[in-house]
Amino acid sequence: MSAPVVLFYVFAVLAVVSALGMVLNVRNTVAAALSLVVTMVALSAIYVLLEAHLVAAIQVIVYAGAIVVLFLFVVMLLNLRTDAFAPARARLQKLAGALIGVALLAQIVHSSLSLPTPPPVPPGFGGYRQLGVALYTDYVLLVEVASLLLTAAIVGALILAKRKID
């Protein structure tokens, strides 16, 4: 069992545990957010192991660096020390959801068993050069759409969060 595989399992366990920590932590929203960060970072490590370097970096920069910080910002802004909610009412729903989740999981496991072993990666795979070329040649339309989406999101967030539009 080579080093990358070990690392993969370590980070996988870390990711799962911290994800659970986020979902099941009903007392402390900030802690939940922070454990989400741990998941993100673990995932980015796994991306590195999967030769997706740029994606790994972006993962950390955007998710850990921006998105979750935004979450924290909002939590602190609203000063939610603990989220004092009773757990959701619909117990049956929960049960059914859990069942369906398990079933789906089983299904996925069953259908994703025995994938072929991945071939060696070509040079520069996952690097910013190759990815950039792909983005700005084959997927340039996608990029344009994304830019449009971001603009719309900025405006929307402003409209939503501003007390009164002046």
Partner: protein, 675 residues
Amino acid sequence: MVNENTDAALRWIPLLPLAVAVLHGVMLGLVRRSLPRWAVNLLSCGSVALSFGVSVYAFFRLVSLKDDYRWLTDSLYTWFGAGVGDTRFSAEMGLRLDPLSSVMTLVVTGVGFLIHLYSIGYMADDHREDRGYQRFFCYLNLFTFSMLMLVMADNLVLLFLGWEGVGLCSYLLIGFWYSDRWNAYCGSKAFIVNRIGDFGFLVGIFLLFGAFAKAGSPSVAFADLRGSFELIKNLTMPAPFWGPSWRLVDVIGLCFFVGAAGKSAQIPLYVWLPDAMAGPTPVSALIHAATMVTAGVYMVSRLSFLYDAAPLASAVIAWTGALTALFAATIAICQTDIKKVLAYSTVSQLGYMFMAAGCHGYTASIFHLVTHAFFKALLFLSAGAVILAMHHEQDIERMGGLARRIRQTHLVFLVGVIAIAGFPPFSGFFSKDEILVATFASHVPGHLVLYAIGLATAGLTSFYMFRLYYKVFHGECRAPADVREHIHEPPGIVLNPLWALAFLSMVGGLIGFPVAYGKAIGVKDSHSLDNWLNKVVGYISYHVPHETEYAMAATAIGVATVGLLLARFLYLSRPELPARIAASAAGLQRLLANKYWVDELYDALIVRPLLLVSDRVFYRAIDAGVIDGAFVNGLGRSVRGFAAGGLKYLQTGLAQSYVFSMLVGAAVILWYLAR
């Protein structure tokens, strides 16, 4: 030869009036401001005058061409096409000018131009409608355009476009003063009756194209039809119900004739024409003389090659024409509305033309069409002048003795009367004479009877026209005093076109100066119209000895004279007699006065049952009951009940429940995919 036979100038003949019409339409419909009158006059009359000029130019180009290649074409673009291969249907937007259509173009634009001029004066004091003046001229130009398309089309479909166009314009113009319900009704009547005819016309087109497509040369262009007519000449079709199979040519010819009967007011579809008098008088003139009603005649002669091969259809046409002529003439005797009289005379003259066409005397019918265009336009316009003078009084019982008051009008009207009554050397004489000769010499079953009917009609025509003339212009004036004071000669803009037309009605006959007389005075083949047309509609197929021809002319003149004298005796020297005659023969009088109750008959037989069925069955039962009740509202009701009953409880308002249902759906799909 092709490059020599194409001329891009042709397109301007219909295009100019269309352009002006569109301009007017835009001004009226979109800009909602009407141009000043002088601009309207300039544009409308100018455009028609210009296209008249172009027609003259084209005419001379035709003359310059060689006899066997005497046509001009101007194909613009493919209007629409369908299908592929040897059943390809394609309707070109192409114009074709051959001798026949050039004659028609000249008549339409020339007479049309005069009528436009006249309208300036006639509509001058018309303030009934909002922007009515410009609207009127817009319709007039559109009318001219449609007629020109009709006569210049190089294929049947395009001809049908013009055909429908004139129908539409007649509707618009007859109902021009739509604020009066009666006018609107007359417009609709004209339109609907025309539609009935158009239906036959359409069927004819379909059959014809189908036949040619089956024969392997699918086309609707006249040149091709004529060229490859041999292919379908002897085709037959099974009888729809029973009996021997029919000759396709006859069927097609009859179908086309249905259309022609609709447009050109033949029995049984003539009923719209007298009511068309509801429109302004220039419109009546335009419809009767220049544009609309001649369409049928033109179409029949255009398809002469077809009718030459269709004896049955020709016979039907001839007989229908003859009966129409007589029938309408008898009605005309008892009419008291000046325009009605003229209208029925038009019907009967058209009957004449069809009679000639049915007897394969296409040249004769076209000849009569031309001359009739002249003097009928003249008559209508001068009648309009009379109406103007009488302050929109149309009842001849309230007129009389106008000869002294409006001399010029009286003179031109008299010219028209003489022309239509058929006294030499006025135009009507030659054309009517030629028609009679054609009928006499033709091989249509019972052509002698037809000849007799024609002769009688000639006499009747002369009679009722002079009756009209005497009742209007002679005897003591029966108009109410206040009107009598203000009887005045119409302005010059009204009179000048009348003089022009009068001149034409006098000398117009010379274009068809019969060969017989030509020999007499030593002019070789003097029948220029025949020489002009024979490549298109075939030579005059009848030959009668000149003596017979003289004799027939003499009889015709005699009959006309009889009519004249009778009218003079009854309405000038013994004006009290007619009333007594009417009293003695009350039934006949009422029969004629009420036009044989044909309208009432149609009303009872067709209109009322149709309305009844539509109302009771189609509207009340099917539409309102089944479609609306069962489907539309029923569906809505059931959906509403269902949704309000149970569906709404899915709307919990809790986002998470929605997410949950989404999840379930996604799970199912995923399971299905990964299964």
